[in-house]
């Protein structure tokens, strides 16, 4: 680990130097909110943001992505053969990602990089990416990252952590990838990280929201599954995809063929367990045809199945997006408390 001091005046020219080796992604203000976008030439990430509307997961996991192209024209020699779509996996960097969102990337990796399977699209993009994080000095009122094994200064999943310090950023280059990026930006002045501890404590103290999960691991899956809590929890849900699309840890996708005339593209698009189509079988049977089953799936996946399967905590980093954006105010903290408190009748 290297500590580097970045004078804010040098930030813009440093970012400019990166453009020769990296494709850059960062928070950009659009209308009244920020989202992570590929930065245009000369564009700087807007680091004065609170939290982006959608999570930065799109930098490695785009909402829609072409996987293959094919021809249905039988006169064509290669008809009905899938051809890989060439992708740009040259080095890219996400600038200004929040620590919660970076931790989310490492949670998602557990799903896309397993002993049996390696998701080539996600993994190639992930491996090409350097994550430059920005510590949160002013967490939002809905942030509860300190109770999800994360925090406003968490380093998990990051290659560099930037901490704002007056006219400078204190940069902790945490990995070789991170050091390489700092070099490429020309950020070389040795720094001092002694100010970080106090800033971290101050930021953590500002987070008053929390999620209760301490008893979840000892619960029996089927007890929670059959618990009489789900009717009430799911009543208001309109089964949109707001929560899952905004969530940095939701990884589900759908595969669709889109034909135009005799040529086609096989796409993968974000999907969501909140929609009935998600589990619709070819036979027409739908094991999760009811809203209650779908809402239960979302919370059981995040708060129980994932927890039991990986033993790495819950599949939620506490970014608060779903809490803020759910049109009917279904709050994962309330649901987790109900699950955590639930005792099955013996």
């Amino acid at each position: 680990m290297k500590v580097i001091n970045i004078d804010k005046e040098k930030w813009a020219s440093g970012v400019e130097s990166l453009t020769s080796t990296y494709r850059l992604f960062g928070p950009v203000k659009e209308d009244d909110s920020h989202n992570f976008k590929e930065l245009k030439k000369g564009e700087l990430p807007d680091l004065a943001y609170g939290n982006s509307k959608l999570s930065p997961k799109s930098a490695v996991f785009p909402p829609s992505e072409a996987m293959f192209t094919y021809s249905l024209d039988e006169k064509n020699e290669n008809h009905h053969i899938l051809n890989d779509v060439k992708k740009d996996y040259s080095p890219r960097a996400v600038l200004g990602i929040r620590p919660c969102d970076a931790k989310a990337v490492s949670l998602v990796r557990m799903n896309f990089d397993t002993k049996e399977y390696r998701d080539p699209y996600w993994m190639d993009a992930f491996e090409a990416t350097t994550f430059v994080g920005l510590a949160c000095d002013n967490p939002c009122s809905t942030c509860f990252c300190t109770s999800t094994g994360c925090g406003p200064f968490s380093e998990e999943g990051l290659d560099v952590l930037l901490v704002e310090n007056g006219n400078a950023y204190i940069a902790k280059a945490l990995t070789a990838k991170g050091e390489k990026l700092m070099d490429a930006a020309g950020f070389k002045t040795a720094g001092d990280d002694s100010a970080i501890a106090a800033k971290k404590a101050a930021a953590e103290a500002k987070i008053t929201a929390s999620i209760e999960t301490d008893k979840l691991s000892e619960k029996v899956i089927m007890d929670l599954y059959d618990a009489p809590i789900w009717d009430d929890i799911s009543f208001s849900c309109i089964n949109c995809c707001t929560c899952t699309y905004a969530c940095p840890t939701c990884w589900c996708f759908d595969i669709q063929d889109e034909n135009k005339g005799l040529s086609g593209v096989r796409m993968r698009n974000w999907d969501s367990c909140m929609t009935p189509l998600f589990t619709m079988h070819g036979s027409g049977h739908n094991p999760r045809s009811q809203k209650k089953q779908r809402v239960r799936q979302r919370f059981m996946h995040k708060l129980k199945y994932f927890l039991d399967k990986y033993q790495k905590g819950i599949m939620c980093v506490g970014c608060g997006r779903c809490v803020q954006q759910c049109p009917v105010n279904i709050d994962i903290r309330t649901v987790s408390k109900k699950m955590n408190d639930y005792v099955a009748a013996s």
């Binding site: 659009e30 909110s33 509307k53 829609s64 208001s236 309109i238 949109c240 889109e258 698009n269």
Partner: protein, 282 residues
């Protein structure tokens, strides 16, 4: 508002206790300052959870679709108009419902805290159908220009309109919260979710996104009450009513029709009359 909620609780408790209804659909306290959560109260002990405030913007009629039990529902002016539409469209029966009518002074925008856009031009704040009111009727707004924004778009050239709607929907993620928050969108399978045949692509293509919005709006023509539930639900703050309102205006100008005001007449687009005007068909 305080008087309203006291009355809502009183009526709900009575109805649950005497068995008139099996449940009451209303709102309960939210967990963030600008939100209240739709809820269903089944036990008279739980009526204490009910709230009424300026965050009760989601249209509760949405929760009535195809329900079989006897229900009470708390209904503002717009909710009541959608209930009328639901009854006409056989999505619920009038005699299943006890409508607790709320004379409304408008809901607040979830982002700005100001009066919600549609509420500013609402001309039916009082419930049009109810079994009991929770307060005196409020004065209806009369001199409002409901369609000022629609007229601006109408005045644009075709190219400008195209760009206007392109920009409008540019941040749409196709989360479908606007559709799912709308009481009118109750199709068992929406055309966008249909896979055999696949009417629209499911990727983030701008053409598919526009197709979704245009078609949804047309499916709501003559039925939309401008309740604003769709717009309030959108996490991207997209002004989706720009399209539905245009059709509301057309229905008013072409057929003299406002949705959800009477149980005695069917909406213009599901009736046929031999003397229908047709001079607008070009």
């Amino acid at each position: 508002m305080d008087a309203y909620i006291t009355k809502i609780k009183e009526i709900s408790e009575r109805l649950l206790k005497d068995g008139t209804v099996e449940a009451v659909i209303g709102f309960r306290q939210g967990t963030v300052p600008t939100m209240s959560e739709p809820c269903m109260i089944k036990r008279s002990d739980d009526v204490k959870d009910l709230v009424w405030d300026s965050n009760c913007r989601i249209n509760l009629c949405n929760y009535l679709t195809n329900r079989k039990e006897k229900l009470a529902i708390v209904a503002k002016g717009c909710d009541s108009r959608n209930i009328v539409t639901h009854i006409i469209e056989n999505k619920i029966k009038r005699d299943q419902l006890f409508i607790i009518g709320v004379p409304c002074k408008g809901m607040n925008d979830k982002n700005t805290g100001e009066l919600q856009d549609n509420c500013g031009t609402c001309t039916h704040r009082n419930p049009v159908i109810y079994d009991e009111l929770v307060g005196d009727l409020v004065e209806e707004q009369t001199d409002v220009d409901k369609y000022a924004d629609v007229k601006k778009v109408e005045a644009l050239s075709s190219d400008e309109k195209w760009n206007f709607f392109n920009d409008l929907y540019s941040s749409c993620t196709r989360c479908h919260a606007c559709r799912n928050a709308c009481p009118l969108c109750y199709c068992p399978t929406c055309f966008v979710d249909e896979s055999k045949p696949q009417w629209v692509g499911k990727a983030d293509d701008a053409v598919d996104i526009r197709t979704y919005h245009f078609l949804r709006a047309y499916h709501c023509a003559g039925r939309c009450t401008d309740c604003g539930s769709c717009e309030a639900a959108c996490p991207q703050n997209i002004k989706v009513r720009q399209m539905t309102k245009k059709l509301e205006k057309d229905c008013s100008e072409l057929y003299g029709w406002e949705a959800g005001l009477t149980l005695d007449e069917r909406p213009p687009l599901d009736t046929f009359k031999v003397d229908d005007r047709e001079d607008f068909i070009k």
